[in-house]
């Protein structure tokens, strides 16, 4: 049995290395592993699986941020309530990623961020919602549907009797990923190490007990897709889970709760959709210098450089750099919009009303490849 499981894991690890793995194979492996009692022999298999799942979580949480950021920056009026809602979602995704990194660091494993940067358009890492191709574009009808699919819970609470469906059928969800992670933590009861974890503004607290792991995962799931008890809003109607916030944007209606029955409804009052830059979908591989005007290219290049610096610092934070690196990463993230917003105002051509947008490309930061300005 052990040999078979070991071989299975080895296969999965090869897939991970070649970035062809998916969560389904990890979940299937987990199910197979859980059928057997935890022993000294299979302990390392369980632990290795947990680390792979956590790394998938890190990469996944990171992967949601660029499309959400692009959508946020496309909203011209930063005061618009939908901009505020998106901003809050992004804050929480950063928190989720930090928790995932802390959980992985607690096992003595350094999270990999700069070696696992997602590309767009592309699939979500780990095969979550494998039919979905995530693109970089401004806030529009399709991007909202895509965001809802990303955050889709296993059980959707109907709103005004409506439910959400999309064309895609395979929905390995983020929630399932965290369920498996929690199961493994509870199973293994590993000793958790605080060193190399980050707490503070972006990570709330360190994970030093299974209770903290449970708390972190419950928070991630509740903020993302709603609680286990199937409420979109058990932290309050002004703090809905991400899935439902996107649904509000899609429907142009606030979600309210019926006082009597507790059912959730879309409010009658229509919300106005913000004025957005018509950011075109960023093409495969991103924009190339030869294809864009100089003004746009300067902004694209500076964006990519700053983004890559941010990734370096983010990676560094959990790989020895600590608090100082995460503060710098945070600052660089705020700097990105300085390039993104003006870029979104540049039309792609005289005949095309759509505009450019940031490519979120990781570039080489070594001095020898820096171009002279």
């Amino acid at each position: 049995m052990l040999k078979k499981l070991t071989a299975q894991l080895k296969k999965i690890e090869n897939e991970i290395l070649s970035k062809t793995h998916n969560l389904t194979s990890l979940f299937n492996f987990a199910d197979a592993l859980f059928k057997h009692k935890l022993t000294e022999e299979n302990h390392s298999l369980n632990l290795t699986l947990l680390k792979h799942l956590l790394q998938s979580a890190v990469t996944l949480e990171f992967a949601t941020m660029p499309p959400y950021l692009a959508a946020l920056w496309s909203i011209k009026d930063e005061r618009h309530p939908m901009a505020a809602s998106l901003r809050e979602i992004i804050h929480e995704e950063m928190l989720h990623m930090s928790f995932a990194c802390n959980m992985l660091a607690s096992l003595g494993e350094a999270p990999q961020i700069k070696t696992a940067v997602p590309v767009y358009p592309g699939k979500l890492p780990g095969g979550v919602h494998p039919d979905l191709t995530v693109k970089l574009s401004g806030l529009n009808e399709q991007s909202i549907i895509d965001f809802m699919e990303i955050e889709m819970p296993e059980h959707i609470v109907p709103i005004s009797g409506e439910t959400f469906s999309c064309d895609h059928t395979d929905h390995s969800t983020v929630g399932e990923l965290y369920d498996h992670i929690l199961t493994l933590f509870e199973r293994l009861q590993p000793e958790l190490c605080v060193d190399n974890q980050i707490s503070g503004p972006l990570a709330m607290y360190v994970v030093d007990s299974i209770e903290k792991v449970k708390y972190a995962i419950t928070l991630i799931k509740r903020q993302g897709e709603g609680s286990h008890g199937n409420s979109p809003a058990d932290t309050g109607m002004d703090d809905l889970a991400h899935f439902y916030r996107f649904w509000e944007i899609k429907k142009r209606r606030k979600i309210i709760q019926c006082p009597q029955g507790g059912d959730f409804l879309f409010d009658d009052k229509e919300l106005d959709f913000p004025d957005v830059w018509p950011m075109a979908e960023v093409p495969v591989g991103g924009y190339q210098q030869a294809d864009v005007p100089d003004k746009a290219w300067q902004l694209i290049e500076r964006f990519d450089t700053t983004y890559s610096e941010m990734i370096e610092k983010l990676h560094g934070a959990w790989n020895g750099g600590g608090q100082g690196d995460i503060i710098r990463a945070h600052e660089l993230m705020f700097t990105l919009q300085k390039f993104a917003r003006p870029l979104m105002a540049i039309p792609r051509s005289a005949s095309d009303s759509s505009t450019y947008g940031p490519c979120f490309r990781q570039v080489d930061l070594s001095p020898s490849t820096n171009k002279e300005s």
Partner: protein, 193 residues
């Protein structure tokens, strides 16, 4: 006229030295040195019973502070190494619990009494013990409080039958910020209608 309080510690603690920050080259402390310094920090939490259970939540920030204070000029490396030795002596003499008790609650760094009333008294740092208290313990206390230790002061109090939670939300140096969307930035004035 300085207030003398040299009754704590032994020969090492009472060794005289100049007041300024001890000079040292920037360096990286070893893991064992960091761990010993961490014990001083953790004991602050234990003795004021505020953050001991959550000291670990402050560690990443504390490590950053130690790093920048030792690896950049003016370096605190010598002060930290001195503090480790002074604490070890105190522990040898009094046992850990009493050593920290005395250091935190009994020992007072001498201060001068300026003639001009508007001037603040200055610390007189003429012993290794005084250096430990001023440059290490006191700064660790400030670090701990600004990182969240203040939240554990106050607590519930009853005033005319009403239970009032006094717990603070924000403090100088504390990174409260906008990251946690459903938490207040500070205790806000709630207008009763």
């Amino acid at each position: 006229m300085a207030q003398e309080n040299n009754t704590l510690g032994g020969k090492l603690s009472q060794t005289t030295i100049t007041a300024n920050l001890m000079f040292s080259e920037p360096c990286t402390l070893s893991a064992s040195q960091i761990e010993k310094l961490w014990q001083i920090f953790a004991h602050i939490g234990e003795h004021w019973k505020d953050v001991y259970n959550e000291s670990k939540n402050l560690k990443s920030a504390w490590l950053e502070m130690i790093k920048v204070k030792t690896e950049q000029q003016p370096s605190y490396s010598a002060e930290y190494k001195n503090a480790i030795l002074v604490i070890e002596e105190l522990i040898q003499l009094y046992g850990a619990q009493e050593a920290y008790q005395k250091l935190f609650f009994s020992y007072k760094v001498p201060h001068n009494q300026p003639e001009n009333e508007t001037e603040k008294p200055h610390a007189i740092l003429t012993t290794l013990l005084a250096h430990t208290k001023y440059y290490v313990v006191d700064e660790f206390i400030r670090m701990q409080v600004l990182s969240g230790g203040f939240k554990h002061f106050g607590g519930q109090s009853k005033t005319s039958g009403e239970v009032i939670k006094v717990k603070g939300v924000n403090y100088k140096g504390y990174v409260k910020g906008s990251r946690y969307n459903n938490e207040q930035l500070a205790r806000i004035f709630e207008q009763k209608t």
